[in-house]
């Protein structure tokens, strides 16, 4: 009897959720509340219901920590004569790219240079979109890695969907500047993987700033960090609480989604009553369920740490049961085992080339993972999860490309560049703004000293929204964090490669 009752509840919940997931697939942008969530105004002659006090309606202000990012003003710039990988088409040899007012204006072989533009000689050099790392802990696990700055894992409960990574980000982490010198212009900062639900991610533009709000990518949707596998069950199992097994993990996800569906139903009921002018008691706002409900409404993207193929398949079933979509599996060492499935589901694969075997669930990782996912028609991404690797994601992508080509998969540079630009942009819901070199997009551009897939390649210049954010030959364009001032060494560092 008991099991039947549970089943009935689950079915009802699933239906409610499916309905909710149909609505609102657009990401949250800006500060405006969605009109559909505003109390209806046609309550005729009765006194209009008082709006809830500020902060009590989760949908009234979906962006309480708004971006204050402002592009640095810049004049028109043209890089001429470079080999250009646009991440949206074929390789362009001896091409020109023109940027103005923060946007890409034109890219191609025969593009005129506008009068008054600053002209950069790109001969012998390469141009790509700014590198996008969809898996970073910069700022939340900052340098120096002292206990006082270990802010990436709220490992106090298996479900901490209530925490937001941006509230842990220390903008003075020198790692941001080093990543910039490696061509990284956009990055997603995630909570760690101790919990089933680790919390919200935040997408940043890699422009040095004093506050995280000044770095927040305008209009980027939030992500929810979820974690499969060994980490959550180890962390909580060792404390004698659930989850202690993989089946405990899955029970934990499902229980949380049921709560979230119930939460949405209560708010929908409340809003419906208010709209009809009836009296109703508002549900109590719950930050954990706000985030989970945001996923069910299609506004928050699921970023799911998951190594093993069999677990990924189960996470896909759970997403179907509750009516949401997984944006990307992270690490995904075994993605190549189910590459066609992941391609069909439209789930991106964020992975490495050379990191494998450091724990049991990573034992089957192979260098060709990204190439095999790409070959199956999937969305392959090379990510870092590391403050050093983030500085040379281009080389890691080069390793993955070379391995794929040794396997006969025929991966071109024009294709592989997508793994660190267009595909991560897609996985973060910002491909309409960055990730490729196409007119109208943000002018986030890297000028490389050499073939970007070479170990020798250095980012000579990095542009963010058309402004020169980093220049290897100009110390005045090499940002240093406050922490680095007055410390031994920094003044002498990074004079630039002299190869």
């Amino acid at each position: 009897m008991k099991s039947i009752a549970v089943l009935a509840v689950l079915t009802a919940a699933a239906l409610t959720l499916a309905a909710c997931a149909e609505t609102g697939t657009t990401p949250v942008t800006g500060t405006q509340a969605r009109t559909a969530d505003k109390p209806a105004e046609k309550t005729t002659d009765k006194t209009p219901p008082k709006p809830l006090r500020a902060g009590l309606d989760p949908w009234a202000n979906p962006d309480p920590f708004p971006s204050t990012y402002r592009p640095v003003p810049s004049g028109p710039t043209a890089i001429v004569g470079a080999t250009i990988l646009t991440a949206a088409g074929d390789q362009i040899d001896a091409g020109t790219i023109v940027m103005a007012e923060g946007k890409i204006v034109a890219v191609g072989k025969d593009v005129p240079v506008p009068t008054g533009a600053q002209v950069i000689d790109g001969h012998g050099r390469w141009v790509t979109p700014g590198v996008i790392d969809p898996h970073s802990h910069l700022g939340v696990y900052a340098s120096p890695a002292v206990e006082a700055q270990s802010d990436g894992n709220e490992a106090t409960d298996p479900n901490t969907a209530n925490v937001w990574a941006e509230h842990s980000v220390w903008p003075q982490d020198a790692g941001f500047n080093r990543a910039l010198s490696g061509g990284v212009t956009t990055l997603q900062i995630l909570p760690g993987s101790a919990n089933l639900f680790g919390g919200r991610s935040v997408v940043l533009k890699n422009m040095p700033a004093q506050t995280v709000q000044q770095m927040k990518f305008p209009g980027a949707p939030y992500g929810l960090k979820m974690a499969c596998g060994e980490n959550p069950k180890r962390v909580y199992g060792s404390r004698g609480r659930s989850p202690a097994t993989l089946m405990g993990n899955v029970a934990g996800y499902r229980a949380a989604w049921i709560q979230a569906a119930e939460y949405l139903r209560k708010w929908d009921d409340y809003k419906a009553k208010i709209a009809k002018g009836e009296k109703a008691e508002p549900p109590t706002r719950n930050l954990t369920l706000d985030t989970l409900a945001g996923v069910l409404k299609g506004e928050i993207l699921v970023q799911n740490h998951c190594y093993r193929a069999d677990e990924m398949a189960q996470m896909i079933d759970i997403s179907r049961e509750f009516g949401y979509h997984i944006a990307a599996f992270h690490h995904a060492s075994e993605a190549y085992k189910i590459a066609p499935t992941l391609a069909k589901e439209g789930i991106c694969v964020d992975t490495w080339a050379q990191w494998w075997g450091f724990k049991m669930e990573a034992f089957d990782g192979i260098e060709e993972n990204a190439a095999m996912v790409d070959h199956a028609g999937g969305c392959a991404i090379v990510h870092s999860d590391d403050e050093h690797l983030i500085q040379h994601l281009n080389v890691e992508a080069g390793v993955a490309m070379a391995a794929g080509n040794r396997a006969g998969l025929g991966i071109s540079r024009a294709r592989a560049i997508r793994w660190i630009t267009a595909n991560p942009a897609k996985s973060l819901g910002i491909l309409d703004k960055v990730g490729t070199l196409e007119p109208g997009k943000m002018a986030d551009v890297v000028l490389w000293s050499a073939d970007p897939f070479s170990a020798y390649a250095l980012a000579d210049q990095v542009y963010i929204d058309g402004a020169l954010a980093y220049d290897r030959s100009d110390p005045s364009r090499q940002p240093r964090s406050d922490f680095e001032l007055g410390q031994p060494g920094p003044r002498d560092l990074m004079k630039g490669g002299n190869r």
Binding site: S143, P144, A145, V146, A174, G175, R178, E230, Y336, K337, A339, P340, Q354, W355, W356, G357, F358, K359, M360, F363, D364, G365, I366, E367, E368, M372, D386, E387, H388, L389, Q391, H392, V395, G398, V399, M401, A402, N405, R406, A407, G408, L409, F453, S454, A455, Y456, L458, F483, E484, Q487, P488, G489, P490, D492, L493, M494, K495, G497, N498, R499
Partner: protein, 434 residues
């Protein structure tokens, strides 16, 4: 399915590595662009002649004996096999799986007496994967286990070994190539929590070892004060105090490096330093004392207060000052794969290319006292070499042929087995049949 079939055929053609180990007979690698890393220098087109596991000749004009097996390099680059440092390959299978981790102990009872040669597993799946990166030997370093410095533990991590990555059961190249010890934050933690305790305690422990080796009889008859170290530790330190075995000291901050150099002078022991992020600030002293260093050339962040002056130019600056630099990648236990590309990135940051190659061949060989047998292509040395498809320090290059101890090595690994199984698996039967 036709496309996949072609893919697999292309994959098979792409690798010229034969399957299964070949016999150690006479081999001539011809038309090779040879970087000998020894007295022979660089040879634009030459021959490496191998007989019975050893190099017998290297040069432009080498007479090739009748019956020798010819491997035509067709102008490709040939280098000594690379030497992996900064890892515990062969003593660890999976870092996160406790029973497979044999690289060190937590809280004793042994310290200096810990001997990693007994931890080696020649069947480790990691070894073929390393081999496919062009590595032919490796330093297997003892690692401290457990939490860092929050319990009082011994200062010595134990004795490192060098291994050959050749197929077969005999991977030990040399035992006792170095004695591991931590200085800096972690060493201070082990000494009780402050640097002020570390150097005095190290002096004290070496004094015990000297006393022990002066008179084992006195020790056996309990005629000496009780020692902090056990007999196994005291025995192991014998090679250190008489200068046969270097101390491999992990140290980071410039001032700590100076302290360790002074300690080495006072104790008249040999030193090899690892970590050395701020080494460039004391480059002249390192060069003057001819102290070799082993470093992660990718470290450029102030990740701790003892690494504030980290820079990607560390390897280039140290080399320019005349210091012998060995390069390894970031400190993952199974991260030796990254060695050659770490050297390549250091080249991007100012290190001359030949110094980059030296940092993964002859320099670690010399630092570890192995240069009589590995690290360069010279007559009399072990025939460990790689024929590269391209630049060995760049992503475009990969090993086409790996020869260790005169035997051509298999081109297979567990990773390639997985790859090929899932490339084939689209063809019908479930993967376990492939």
């Amino acid at each position: 399915m036709r496309i996949l079939g072609q893919t697999l055929m292309a994959a098979a053609l792409a690798t010229t590595l034969v399957s299964g180990p070949s016999r150690a007979d006479t081999i001539a690698v011809t038309h090779a662009h040879i970087h000998t890393m020894g007295k022979g220098g660089e040879i634009a087109s030459g021959v490496v002649l191998i007989d019975n596991g050893r190099i017998t000749a290297v040069g432009r004009d080498v007479a090739i004996p009748a019956g020798a097996r010819i491997i035509d390099a067709k102008g490709r680059i040939v280098t000594p096999g690379l030497i992996v440092t900064g890892s515990s390959v062969g003593a660890e299978e999976i870092e996160g799986v406790e029973p497979t981790v044999n690289s060190g102990v937590e809280g004793g009872p042994l310290s200096a007496g810990f001997d990693i040669q007994y931890s080696l597993n020649p069947d480790s799946t990691v070894l073929p994967i390393e081999r496919l990166t062009g590595a032919t030997s490796a330093l297997v370093s003892p690692m401290f286990r457990g939490r860092r410095g929050d319990t009082r533990e011994t200062l010595f991590a134990g004795q490192a070994a060098a291994i050959s990555l050749a197929e077969g059961p005999d991977i030990l190249l040399r035992a006792h190539v170095a004695m591991g010890v931590d200085a800096g934050d972690r060493g201070a933690g082990r000494a009780g929590g402050a640097r002020g305790a570390l150097i005095p305690e190290l002096h004290g422990l070496l004094a015990e070892a000297r006393a022990y080796h002066r008179s084992r009889a006195a020790y056996d008859q309990n005629k000496v004060q009780p020692f902090a170290l056990r007999r196994e530790d005291l025995e192991a330190l014998g090679a250190v105090i008489d200068g046969r075995e270097p101390l491999l000291v992990e140290v980071h901050r410039a001032s700590d490096i100076r302290q360790i150099l002074a300690f080495g002078r006072a104790e008249k022991v040999r030193l090899v330093l690892s970590g050395v992020e701020e080494g460039w600030r004391v480059a002249a002293e390192l060069a003057a004392t001819q102290t070799p260093v082993m470093l992660d050339s990718d470290e450029d962040l102030p990740v701790s207060f003892e690494k504030l002056a980290s820079t990607l130019e560390n390897a280039a600056r140290l080399t320019a000052a005349g210091v012998s630099v060995s390069i390894h990648g970031p400190g993952l236990s199974t991260g030796g794969k990254a060695v050659r590309l770490a050297a390549g990135r250091a080249v991007g940051h100012g290190l001359p290319w030949s110094a980059g190659l030296a940092a993964v061949t002859i320099n670690p060989a010399r630092a570890l006292g192995l240069a009589d047998t590995v690290g360069s292509l010279e007559p009399g040395k072990s025939a460990d070499l790689v024929v590269w498809s391209g630049d060995p320090l760049d992503t475009s290059g990969a090993p086409d042929v790996v020869i260790i101890k005169g035997r051509e090595q298999s081109g297979r690994s567990r990773q390639l087995d997985l790859r090929d199984r899932y490339l084939k698996a689209a063809d019908g039967l479930p993967p376990p049949y492939h």
